[in-house]
């Protein structure tokens, strides 16, 4: 049994195949929001196009190569949390019995991001938050994360010529990740510490990597660089940060979950996307308010 099949129930099932166009599903709102609960602040990411390097491992003639790039069009705006989910936000989900206590710090001096959370924790938090707010919250896809991250997104190309020496890519990857880790303080920092990017989203690519819903994929490309065949492993998800990370869904501490000879993310955290209400949901909300 593959990890992927274990996940079917908990995953928000955003197939990585839907790469080219991100559409809005607009799920209907759940229970009405309880009073006194503030919906997290979001930033609107306006439509646009992203030259996007696909995540995962790509082989050409059985040899690893840089992933192909693709133009992704975002036709509709989307809302993403301005800050990562904080310790106190996450703590409310724990208090409600809907989330497991995070492995990271639990004392929240000055709005620290929740860390030490797995993909499972992140999705549990998203459904809890959806229930509490009556909105629809979910993890971003890797494409959405990359688009929102804008200039903070690192193209993980190694730019290495095709070679018979497999170690060339291992060494280049290690070197680039070691360079990025140089002097980086892994201690989580308060909201805003790493500043906002050009789209107004805070703390992207600081020292907390963020879970996405995108599955790890291994693909073969032909000589034109087009994907010929691929296998997705949804037991491993893409994390966004200073470099892309690939983490098993149950890992809470990236350092433990990393491999013997690579550089691991410092921390794992959560930033969610809020679905814009569909016409249906808007009508429903209107009805409800009209009735009340």
């Amino acid at each position: 049994m593959k990890f992927g099949s274990l996940l079917v129930t908990s995953a928000i099932a955003v197939p990585a195949i839907a790469l080219a166009v991100i559409s809005q599903t607009g799920w209907p709102a759940a229970a009405p929001p309880p009073s006194g609960f503030a919906s997290p602040r979001t930033v609107t990411i306006t439509p646009g196009t992203l030259a996007y390097r696909m995540p995962g491992e790509f082989l050409k003639s059985e040899r690893p190569v840089d992933a192909p790039k693709e133009d992704v069009r975002f036709r509709r705006p989307f809302e993403i949390m301005a800050y990562q989910v904080s310790i106190s936000d996450y703590g409310q989900c724990v208090a409600d019995g809907a989330c497991e206590a995070a492995e990271g710090a639990s004392d929240n001096k000055g709005a620290l991001p929740a860390t030490g959370v797995s993909f499972r924790d992140a999705t549990a938090y998203a459904s809890w938050l959806s229930g509490r707010t009556g909105e629809t919250w979910r993890l971003p896809t890797d494409e959405e994360w990359a688009f929102a991250a804008a200039e903070r997104f690192t193209d993980d190309t190694l730019g290495i010529e095709e070679t018979n020496n497999p170690a060339a890519r291992w060494l280049a990857r290690y070197r680039s990740e070691a360079e990025a880790a140089k002097g980086r303080d892994p201690e989580p920092k308060p909201h805003g510490h790493f500043g906002a990017n050009s789209k107004g989203v805070y703390d992207l690519a600081g020292n907390v990597w963020e879970w996405t819903s995108t599955c790890y994929r291994r693909a073969s490309v032909n000589h034109q660089g087009d994907v010929e065949s691929s296998t997705d492993n949804c037991g491993v998800r893409v994390t966004g940060g200073q470099h892309r990370g690939y983490m098993s869904f149950f890992i809470r501490d990236g350092k433990s979950g990393g491999c013997a000879a690579g550089m691991a993310p410092d921390n794992l955290g959560i930033r969610l996307v809020k679905e814009r209400p569909s016409l249906f949901a808007a009508l429903k909300a209107f009805w409800r308010s009209a009735a009340g």
Binding site: N165, A167, W170, L171, R175, A181, D185, R218
Partner: protein, 372 residues
């Protein structure tokens, strides 16, 4: 008597030290050089180099025995031992964990000036496992803050040997606070294989492994202390549990990874010197081997060959010689993999060079399982 004369010359201080020297006389005497002869030996002052590297040296000795002079300053200082900023009230030789590697040849004399600056809190000393008598020199080097002592000992046995601090009543605490290192005494004609053929190395990677015991507060967070004295009681309690909170190479989780990873080339021969003053360990080079390994570290014994993992007894230093045959990123670990991956005992070696398809080839890259 040499010992008496040494005592008169001021090498030994105090009645306790003289009494200890008395007991040394019972052991079979090795060839003794007269003090006048020693005075006539050439002196070489050698500057120590911070780990994981070794000071410049000849693998085959040039000329006759020498007196090699070293100076080590004891530094008590807070040291960050992991990526989370956990701080150990460390005690160190020369400010590094492990203390620097000293390399001499058989028949040479090591003359160490051990300095304990006034700013320190604790008395310290040094016990050389390679030296003979006086608790390895510990009884003759007990220095309080503001003092220094000079010890000379003759390198009569070849091999890699641990040195460590051993002050009365506090030995294990000083050792697991960072005070250990290694000496390598090379045969005058260099290293040899089991048939007596010479062996050479291009570089030394000197790995000192420390098991550390940092107390936690009621929330499970590692505690920080204002002073060494403050840290003692609670640290001792954790030590008595015998389960380290950290097992690190060169003083810190990640001290030898990432930007600090070790570097070598295909075809180069590396001598890994691995010291552990307190606790057993089992080095393993993932993807490589130990071509010639002196597990116990003593070069008069023929090296074991083609080892996958070697055993370093707590309180000893071992040496493993390996010629890299493939490029890539190697992990050099304590192959208790929990200690390697969770507690910190991992180093990385980045090896550049040409891939050898004969030794290994990926015949088929991972892909879908074909269906009939």
């Amino acid at each position: 008597m040499l010992t008496r004369r040494e005592a008169l010359l001021g090498t030994a201080t105090g009645a306790a030290a003289a009494a200890l020297l008395g007991s040394v006389l019972a052991t079979p005497a090795l060839a003794q050089a007269k003090v006048a002869d020693i005075a006539g030996l050439p002196r070489v002052k050698v500057d120590l180099v911070a780990p994981p590297f070794a000071h410049a040296h000849d693998q085959v000795a040039k000329g006759g025995p020498k007196i090699i002079e070293y100076r080590m300053t004891i530094k008590e200082q807070p040291m960050v031992i992991d990526g989370e900023g956990t701080t150990l009230r460390a005690m160190t030789y020369e400010g590094s964990m492990p203390g620097p590697l000293m390399i001499v040849h058989e028949g040479d004399y090591v003359e160490l000036t051990l300095v304990n600056p006034e700013t320190n809190e604790m008395p310290h000393n040094i016990d050389f496992h390679a030296a003979t008598g006086a608790l390895g020199g510990g009884a003759l080097t007990h220095v309080n803050p503001g003092e220094q002592a000079v010890l000379r000992w003759k390198a009569t046995r070849t091999g890699t040997f641990v040195y460590h601090c051993a002050p009365t009543g506090m030995i294990p605490w000083h050792v697991v606070s960072g005070m250990s290192g290694a000496v390598m005494v090379l045969p005058r004609d260099g290293l040899k294989d089991e048939a007596g053929k010479p062996l050479k190395y291009d570089r030394i990677f000197y790995v000192g492994e420390h098991d550390l015991y940092v107390p936690r507060d009621e929330n499970g967070k590692y505690k920080k202390y204002e002073s060494l004295g403050d840290s003692y009681d609670e640290t001792l309690k954790v030590m008595r549990g015998l389960i380290p909170t950290h097992v690190v190479f060169n003083g810190k989780v990640g001290a030898l990874t990432g930007d600090n990873a070790l570097k070598a080339k295909v075809g180069e021969t590396v001598l890994f010197v691995h010291a552990q003053a307190n606790r057993d360990t089992r080095p393993h080079l993932i993807g490589g081997h130990g071509d010639h390994v002196w597990e116990e570290g003593k070069f008069i014994n023929p090296p074991a060959k083609d080892l996958e993992t070697w055993f370093i007894r707590g309180g000893s230093a071992g040496a493993a010689l390996y010629t890299f045959l493939q490029p890539g990123v190697y992990a050099y670990v304590n192959h208790n993999l929990i200690e390697a991956a969770e507690l910190g005992a991992t180093a990385h070696v980045m090896v550049e060079g040409e891939w050898n398809d004969d030794l290994m080839k990926q015949v088929q890259a991972p892909g879908p399982i074909p269906t009939n």
